[in-house]
């Protein structure tokens, strides 16, 4: 979900090898970095894990926006810890992607020049403090929906990264919900701010799961390979079912007049997001796409002298050590 619209790569290898590979996956075995794998599996995973990693890294920006303006020192410390976690999650995932034979710098370059994507959600601005609540509650909540099943994905390093991430993600969602509770119980202006944040983040959060199943063309192969565990609509429905009662608990209204409990399916009927907006955001036309990529490019360029300097220092020290031996 931090990975959207991942195109599955076709594979044209020896059918016997492919069948043996599929049998391993069907038996619940984990595929490890040095094991034989179809080229399509490798390529699709690099794209998926890479996009997931980029989302964690770019995801620091909308929240980093509020670190210096957090309302209390405690909130500031919490937000810093959360943003630091996102950096950590990005690093776990980059490492998992690198085991597939792509380098960290290649991944970074592909993000910076737009060849690789990150989740559409991070192209929306965070306008008020209540957005820190809505992001933690809804955005991290939606991420958890997708990441929990991915702990059982077929690729070992990806599954292990997911286990670490899921352990930390619950803190993210709870701190967000706690912000929303505080705002919803506050003054009328604070309550309005919380409602406004929910209004703005509800549909972008629903978009995180990717297009509707009827338009999702890449799912079948990825599901056979167990690198996608549920369909987009399954996860979206689950997310709606969990979030609606939480909004009620906050005394806030989900901005969907069509929202109704459907006894028959045991879930809510809800309005789909505006998919034309989703595709526009994915293609670079969201409110913050340009800012986000500019910020990442600036960080990369401004950090170049540090990376080069530290490497030069390490090489010099190593040379001195060799000379002394």
């Amino acid at each position: 979900m931090y990975a959207q619209m991942i195109k599955s790569e076709a594979t044209d290898e020896d059918p016997e090898k492919l069948a043996a590979f599929q049998a391993r996956i069907d038996a619940g075995e984990k595929i490890e970095p040095k094991d034989w794998m179809p080229a399509g599996y490798r390529k699709t995973l690099i794209r998926q894990i890479g996009q997931h990693a980029h989302s964690e890294i770019v995801g620091q920006l909308p929240e980093g926006n509020w670190i210096t303006r957090a309302p209390t020192l405690e909130r500031k410390a919490i937000l810093l810890a959360k943003v630091q976690d996102e950096a950590g999650h990005g690093l776990y995932l980059y490492c998992a992607a690198e085991t597939l034979g792509v380098s960290r710098d290649e991944l970074t370059e592909m993000l910076l020049d737009g060849r690789m994507k990150y989740s559409s959600i991070f192209n929306y601005p965070t306008l008020t403090w209540a957005d820190m609540g809505a992001v933690g509650w809804l955005v991290d909540g939606a991420a958890i929906m997708n990441q929990v099943p991915l702990q059982r994905t077929s690729y070992g390093p990806y599954a292990r990264a997911m286990v670490r991430i899921c352990k930390e993600e619950s803190f993210h969602q709870r701190q967000g919900f706690a912000i929303m509770m505080k705002m919803a119980e506050g003054t009328e202006a604070q309550r309005r701010m919380a409602q406004d944040a929910l209004n703005r983040f509800w549909y972008p959060a629903l978009m995180m799961f990717g297009p509707s199943d009827k338009d999702s063309v890449h799912s079948a192969q990825s599901m056979r390979w167990r690198i996608k565990m549920n369909t987009n609509d399954e996860l979206r429905q689950k997310f709606v079912n969990e979030s609606v009662p939480q909004a009620k608990l906050l005394g806030l209204t989900v901005p969907d007049p069509e929202l109704r409990w459907n006894e028959e399916k045991g879930g809510y009927d809800y309005s789909e997001p505006d998919w034309s907006e989703f595709f526009a955001v994915i293609q670079g036309h969201g409110p913050c796409n340009t800012d986000r990529i500019e910020a990442r490019n600036k960080a990369w360029d401004d950090g170049a002298w540090v990376r080069e300097g530290m490497l030069a220092h390490a090489r010099k020290k190593a040379a001195v050590r060799v000379a002394a031996e």
Binding site: W36, G88, L91, C95, E98, M310, A314
Partner: protein, 94 residues
């Protein structure tokens, strides 16, 4: 880019007397920085009290294609396990 920092594999020992365990990897220019970065990346919630870092290029691993030749010989040696032996209950805990 040939100026990428080398990759280090990170091992952490938790508080409860277990061995160091592989937790992941990271890039760093040298071993000292790798240890410092490992603290921030892998022990933000008291996961460990000791860190080892090993440059990934220095690790020699068994060949996954030779898995059977390597590990199958252990599979038919059931007598290496205590449950292979039928001992009467009267003998007490053994």
């Amino acid at each position: 880019m040939q100026n990428e920092w080398p990759l280090w594999e990170i091992f952490i020992r938790g508080q409860h007397g277990l061995s160091h365990r592989h937790v992941g990897s990271l890039h760093a220019p040298d071993a000292e920085t790798a240890v410092r970065n490992a603290r921030d990346v892998y022990t933000r919630r008291s996961e460990g009290v000791s860190i080892w870092v090993v440059e990934a290029a220095q690790i020699t691993a068994s060949d996954p294609d030779a898995k059977e030749a390597m590990f199958e010989p252990a599979e038919d040696k059931v007598y290496r396990h205590p449950t292979f032996y039928d001992i009467p209950d009267d003998a007490g805990h053994m």
